[in-house]
């Protein structure tokens, strides 16, 4: 965690810094931290740290514990199930909606994101791949025309990353992840709404199943049911 320069909205800067530190694992899941210590490390007063933590708590990334401080929350298998269930409920119909509204410039953006993913995979740069992956999904949700939806799904993705979990290099290679997005883009280019929606469904479902199997060694009834429904 680096020192934060005092300018702009301090609370937002502190919030971004803490969020990045949680996602990178620098602030360790399951560990307790005092507001005082965090403020000292960041070189700021306690007020903006407390305010930033309250926001992270409302996103479910940390929890305040009476008299002790703030605990970085560990993502459980239930968390992952909930998050992916919501992503399926939201991203699949939103993808169908986005096809009808997609402009040429939006297609260019999706293509750029996919190219970015492929290059990052080539370079073995997991972080860059994740950034492009996120932009790919966010671009589709923005085209669907609902900013609240895009912001909400983005915060769901934070929750998954909080655990530092990713299928990259474990259950599938970086190339596999990049390639999974290609069919979605193809269906967008063909203006095939149902095809794009089912490609998105396959991709999100596959990620959920791999991740839960990898992290908890189990399958889940929830996603088996989703798969059964899809086929």
């Amino acid at each position: 965690v680096k020192k934060v320069r005092v300018e702009g909205s301090l609370m937002n800067q502190v919030g971004d810094t803490l969020r990045a530190a949680i996602l990178s694992g620098e602030l360790v899941a399951g560990q307790l931290y005092s507001v005082q210590d965090l403020a000292e490390v960041l070189g700021v007063s306690r007020t903006p740290v407390r305010e930033a933590l309250i926001r992270l708590a409302s996103k479910g990334m940390v929890r305040f514990e009476r008299n002790r401080g703030v605990r970085i929350l560990q993502t459980t298998s239930e968390d992952l199930e909930e998050v992916f269930e919501l992503r399926l409920l939201l991203e699949v119909p939103a993808t169908r909606l986005a096809v009808a509204r997609m402009q040429d410039a939006d297609l260019v953006e999706l293509r750029t994101c996919l190219e970015g993913m492929k290059k990052a995979a080539e370079a073995g740069d997991e972080r860059a791949l994740m950034d492009h992956d996120r932009r790919f999904h966010a671009a589709i949700l923005e085209v669907a025309g609902n900013h609240r939806l895009a912001v909400f799904v983005d915060s769901l993705r934070d929750l998954v990353l909080t655990r530092g979990v990713s299928t990259a290099g474990t259950s599938r290679t970086l190339h596999d992840i990049a390639d999974e997005h290609a069919p979605i883009l193809e269906k967008f280019e063909a203006r095939d709404a149902d095809g794009a929606a089912s490609a998105m469904r396959r991709h999100v479902l596959h990620t959920a199943q791999l991740l839960i199997k990898q992290e908890f060694g189990t399958g889940t009834d929830t996603f088996d049911a989703w798969s059964a429904e899809a086929s």
């Binding site: 269930e85 939201l90 939806l149």
Partner: protein, 235 residues
């Protein structure tokens, strides 16, 4: 750390009070307030008020204006569109699920809420009716068993309920709203998932359409509901 935890509980209380004041219209849309004055009015220190206000800003109920204070935000057609698009995407499948996999406890809870809704409608008690309306939808959503889903629906309802936006007496009356819910409930009880989902979709779309017209009349935005047809085709 003790003082901070104590303050956080106060923050929750302040948050509830401010949210209710915005929803009831006691804090008028467009009006500007200082954190200092709000703290004085609530008889608490400024810190919990500042913290509560930050959270209200997150859901778009207020905007923070540098060096000036807190602006109570009016609702726009765009807000209604965003909120109801999300509610349609989430509540319609949750309703189908309730019809397919609802337990007897859900049926009993919904029957009780339905009865209370009809009584509130008969008494023409709008506030009480809206409370039961919210419980009805919450019970169906909670049955889905996804805590995050339940909490996002609560947040969305706060947004649309803010500023007292309601369709009551502007296009439909309480007894007809109660009956719209009764058709949803009957289909759930029959285990008829497609019909239950269709009634829920109809109800939400009807509500959204009325709200859009009502808000548009105030904000002078176009009252387009073309997005509703689009969303309904994609569900």
């Amino acid at each position: 750390m003790k003082p901070m935890v104590a303050r956080i509980n106060v923050t929750d209380e302040v948050l509830t009070t401010l949210r209710e004041a915005i929803i009831s219209g006691e804090l008028e849309p467009g009006s500007l307030h200082s954190v200092y004055k709000l703290a004085e009015r609530l008889n608490v220190s400024r810190t919990p008020v500042r913290e509560a206000v930050l959270r209200l800003a997150d859901v778009g109920m207020v905007a923070l204006e540098r060096n000036r204070g807190v602006r109570i935000k009016g609702i726009t057609v765009r807000d209604i569109e965003d909120v109801f698009q999300l509610r349609l995407l989430l509540e319609v499948p949750a309703t189908a699920f309730a019809a397919r996999c609802g337990q007897s406890e859900l049926a009993a809870a919904l029957a009780e809420i339905m009865e209370a809704m009809r009584m509130a409608a008969a008494d023409d008690d709008e506030l009480l009716f809206m409370k039961h309306d919210r419980e009805f939808h919450r019970a169906i959503v909670a049955n889905f068993g996804n805590v995050r889903l339940t909490s996002v629906i609560e947040t969305l309802r706060d947004v649309s309920q803010a500023h007292g936006v309601s369709t009551v007496h502007r296009g439909r009356d309480l007894p007809s709203m109660a009956e719209e819910h009764a058709t949803i409930l009957e289909a759930i009880n029959r285990g008829d998932a497609p019909v239950a989902a269709a009634h829920m979709e109809e109800y939400l779309a009807h509500t959204a359409g009325l709200l859009v017209r009502q808000v548009a009349a105030v904000t002078k935005e176009p009252a387009s509901t073309e997005w509703l047809d689009r969303v309904r085709r994609c569900g």
